[in-house]
């Protein structure tokens, strides 16, 4: 427990936000960077910053990475500022979602000219890249660690100053082209935009949000230690605020129930299947992950949290299953239909890339290294495990075959070292070990 001299999480978060807004108002910096751990109120900050800029007479633009991120932001902006005219810059084939269509203060436009009356204009980076003229005072770049440097180069002429917001622990952008040509260059186009911008501009203030509102007290210290080793964060809720309870008692004492009980009690569970080398499409692993979700729905659970203090029944939409590969996702979806629970197909199943930025009550993860013979850079990437294990508000269950620790020990990272390339932290190998050490305390052998 913290000593009473420590500020409450809410106060710490407010102080961080104030410092960011002060730096922004100060105007002496071309850019500000805000590093945000999972669920630290990044979108809230974006909405708040947009409001401050608009109040100061600016006409900020917001650059997000995907259409659904844009839609989410607009909904939040419109709710927070019902009087501000908001523009959505969209491609010609974009069809507004029903929620967006219902907003009265939002205009959808194909070109900047259509949005001349709007105080805040939001669009995807790809769409902003097609805008050829017009310069705005400020841009807020959301999820900027997922934006490649070459994309930043296409949109940078549209603004004078930028607020770069993002989560450095998530997956890096990638390219399918295998080239070593730019390794070590400060403007390597395959790097993310924030890294490249910081490389060329000294003295840019880097702020970080200190509190994760999403992760429960059981998860925040582990995730912080494994994936944010130098810039820790704390959970926003106190112990006991979040809880899961079963609606029914278990009949028989199956391993599924044991795992669920462990996850409900401690916030973590490692459901460990017998050691075996298997392809990533291993039926047993995949069916187990689906069965866990099915069993959870069968038994029914009540989730208590700061938003629902009297508890709320968990539905299929509150559960996600995270995997590393798309073919696994397809197989898990098929496996969910075989669990016998009619609601099970409503469980969200996706790869780490697509789960970025999303939030669920309970997340079931198929460990990327489960059953593998080797540990490749793809499967070791810290961002992948970080995304998978930091989506939950209540509990995270990892399904894996026994032997991952041995696998890690026989495959230390062997990435080549290049001149002028900074060592990347956190190291995927080490982060994996930290997570495993934590999960070992919550292990249930199947």
């Amino acid at each position: 427990m913290k000593t009473d001299t420590d500020a409450t999480p809410a106060a710490a978060a407010a102080a961080a936000t104030d410092a960011i807004l002060t730096d922004m108002a100060d105007g002496s910096h071309r850019a500000l960077v805000v590093d945000s751990p999972p669920g630290a109120g990044k979108s809230t900050l974006v909405v708040r910053a947009a409001q401050e800029l608009t109040a100061g007479g600016e006409r900020p633009i917001i650059v997000a990475q995907t259409n659904s991120q844009v839609d989410d932001l607009i909904e939040r902006l419109a709710a927070a500022h019902p009087d501000t005219a908001i523009g959505r810059l969209s491609a010609t084939d974009y069809v507004a979602t029903p929620a967006l269509g219902a907003l009265t203060n939002t205009t959808v436009g194909r070109a900047l000219g259509d949005l001349s009356g709007c105080r805040i204009i939001v669009g995807t980076a790809a769409k902003w890249a097609t805008v050829r003229d017009g310069t705005f005072g400020w841009a807020i770049l959301d999820e900027s660690y997922q934006m490649r440097s070459d994309m930043l180069l296409q949109v940078v002429e549209r603004f004078d100053r930028g607020l770069f917001v993002g989560d450095p622990g998530q997956l890096d952008p990638f390219t399918i082209v295998g080239t070593e040509r730019w390794i070590g260059l400060p403007h390597d186009p395959t790097q993310n935009g924030v890294t490249v911008m910081l490389e060329h501009n000294r003295g840019i203030p880097v702020h970080r949000l200190p509190v994760s509102w999403r992760l429960p007290t059981s998860a925040a210290p582990t995730i912080s230690q494994a994936f944010y080793p130098f810039t820790g964060f704390t959970a926003g809720t106190s112990e006991g605020t979040r809880a899961l309870e079963f609606n029914t008692t278990a009949f028989g004492n199956t391993d599924l129930d044991e795992t669920l009980a462990m996850a409900f009690a401690t916030g973590w569970a490692l459901h460990e299947l017998p050691r075996r080398h298997v392809p990533r499409t291993d039926t047993e692993t995949i069916q187990t992950a689906a069965n866990l979700a099915g069993r959870l729905l069968d038994r029914g659970a009540l989730a208590t949290c700061e938003r629902h203090q009297n508890g709320r029944p968990l539905g299929a939409g509150d559960i996600a299953i995270g995997v590393a590969h798309r073919d696994q996702a397809d197989l898990v979806r098929a496996a969910l239909t075989r669990t016998g629970n009619p609601n099970a197909p409503g469980v969200a199943v996706d790869t780490a890339n697509r789960l970025q930025g999303r939030e669920y009550e309970v997340v079931i993860v198929i460990h990327p290294l489960s059953g593998r013979r080797d540990a490749t850079a793809f499967h070791l990437e810290a961002g992948r495990l970080c995304v998978l294990t930091s989506r939950h508000r209540q509990a995270c269950i990892v399904v894996a075959r026994e032997g991952i620790a041995d696998l890690l020990d026989s495959h230390p990272s062997t990435d080549p070292v290049h001149l002028s390339v900074r060592a990347k932290f956190p190291d995927g190998w080490e982060a994996n070990h930290v997570m495993l050490a934590k999960l070992a305390l919550h292990r249930v052998a199947a």
């Binding site: 890249a129 180069l153 296409q154 390219t175 040509r181």
Partner: protein, 503 residues
């Protein structure tokens, strides 16, 4: 590795015989390629030792650097290799066709090296040569920088998928044949050839054992066998050095011819094998769309040729921020198009993509050929819908644009929905193009019930990304001027040498 190619490798292992992975050869083979087999000396990066070069099996020229550490000899070597290569390239700079700004040479040079290492060796050689000055101290013959710039052009172009002006022979072989060895082992020309076409009278096992013995099959370069280096090469170079120090011309000539003979023994087996591989590759039919990519090569060759004629500068040592971003865009685009072209042309590649859910084939179960819609400009256009039942594990989302190798060219469609149907999947697509201009689709342009049809995603047309002008690198990608003068992000400024970096 996808399921089907993994299966092919397993099959190759079991039958001890290479298995074709593709129905076609997706790389163009020139009727008159220039083969270069570069060798480099161990211990110093990019120090050329020898090269065998020629455009016919019987016309190989061996060039040797007797003392690779000697820069004068090194550039004399670069000049003689350069003359051969530039003569070869110049022989393609004629018979320009077409008028105005679109005229181009009808053919391009094609340089073949044994493996990827060969390309790296040429890249190093190009970099070593292209900045050399032809006057003042350390002057080199005119051909050296010219050669360096052409080599760099070819190496840069070779990075782009689907191009054929500079290719490694092992790469083309491994693209067409699966063997029972690892990807790394497939880069060894001798053992790859042992799998595909073992020498007469030898089994694959025997041929592979030979391929692993450097005394029988010397490595295909650019590195020579360490055993050869220690046992033969080092003493021979020493003899040459001694003779030169003593000024003994007869001993010098003898030492030089000894060296040539030694290196000839190392390089000639690879030379012969490379030409055998080329003959083997010629027997594989060329994929139809290769010609489309070849035309782009012709355009690139013509435009670089014109740039050289106008006295253009050598390529930069490092890409600028904008140049790099632009290049990444081209490379990604070329790769997507090449992969799509291969699947379009080649049923084997298509099957591979299908097994991964990136394409599908099935039977038309339902068709709505007369469906029309009214466009935004108030025109009625045919938009037939077709439902296809497929057993493939389709992993394409709605709104994916599609191409079909089983329909007349120009056929375009878009996925409307993907629904599971028992073990199979029902994919409904809307035909959007290739139906002619009339209000009724042209005959045969819409799939009919019971027709077998395959679809794959269309990489489609995308506007080229627009970057700021090269003289206006924005603040995010360049250090703000005026701080210290020199750009801290340009490490070569700090490491400039008297002879080396500045020019």
């Amino acid at each position: 590795m996808s399921m089907l190619s993994a299966l092919a490798h397993v099959q190759a292992t079991e039958s001890m015989q290479a298995v074709p992975l593709t129905a076609f050869r997706h790389r163009r083979l020139s009727s008159r390629p220039l083969v270069i087999i570069p060798l480099v000396m161990a211990g110093e990066a990019g120090a050329p030792l020898a090269a065998m070069v020629g455009s016919a099996r019987r016309k190989g020229t061996l060039l040797v650097v007797a003392q690779p550490r000697n820069r004068d000899q090194r550039f004399a070597f670069a000049a003689s290799l350069g003359r051969t290569v530039i003569d070869y390239i110049d022989s393609f700079r004629q018979g320009r066709r077409g008028g105005g700004g679109h005229s181009r040479y009808p053919d391009t040079p094609q340089i073949l090296v044994p493996n990827h290492g060969g390309i790296k060796a040429l890249a190093d050689l190009g970099r070593m040569c292209r900045f050399r000055s032809t006057s003042g101290p350390h002057a080199v013959p005119d051909v050296v920088p010219e050669f360096g710039m052409w080599l760099t052009f070819l190496v840069d172009r070779a990075e782009q998928a689907g191009t054929s002006m500079l290719l490694p022979v092992t790469g083309i072989l491994a693209e067409h044949w699966a063997t029972g060895q690892s990807t790394l082992e497939d880069q060894n020309l001798a053992s790859l050839m042992a799998w595909i076409a073992p020498p007469a009278g030898l089994s694959v096992e025997q041929a592979m054992a030979d391929a692993e013995n450097p005394d029988v099959c010397p490595p295909a370069g650019p590195a020579t066998s360490p055993e050869f280096d220690n046992r033969d090469l080092a003493p021979a170079i020493k003899r040459f050095d001694t003779a030169r120090t003593l000024g003994d011309l007869r001993a010098l000539a003898a030492a030089e011819s000894d060296l040539r003979e030694l290196i000839a023994g190392q390089i000639q087996p690879t030379w012969r094998m490379t030409w055998e591989a080329i003959a083997l590759l010629r027997s594989v039919p060329e994929a139809p769309r290769t010609i489309k990519r070849f035309e782009r090569d012709c355009a690139a060759f013509t435009s670089y040729s014109d740039y050289r004629d106008s006295g253009g500068l050598p390529q930069r040592k490092r890409d600028t921020a904008i140049g790099a971003a632009q290049r990444l865009g081209w490379l990604e685009r070329a790769l997507a198009e090449f992969e799509s072209d291969m699947a379009f042309d080649d049923p084997f590649v298509l099957a591979d993509r299908r097994s991964a859910g990136e394409a599908f084939a099935g039977t038309v179960v339902e068709a709505e050929p007369s469906r029309t819609v009214t466009t935004a400009s108030n025109r009625r256009v045919p938009r037939p819908r077709v439902t296809i039942r497929t057993q493939d594990p389709v992993r394409l989302a709605a709104d994916t644009k599609l191409l079909s190798p089983s329909m007349p060219s120009g056929h375009k469609a878009v996925i409307v929905s993907v629904l599971p149907d028992g073990d199979a999947t029902l994919v409904t697509v809307e035909v959007t193009g290739g139906m002619g201009r009339a209000r009724v689709p042209a005959r045969g342009s819409v799939p009919v019930p019971d027709q077998r049809i395959a679809y794959l995603p269309d990489p489609g047309w995308r506007p080229a990304p627009q970057f700021p002008g090269s003289d206006r690198t924005p603040w995010t990608h360049s250090a703000t001027a005026g701080e210290t003068g020199a750009d801290p992000a340009a490490p070569e400024d700090a490491a400039a040498e008297e002879w080396g970096n500045e020019d």
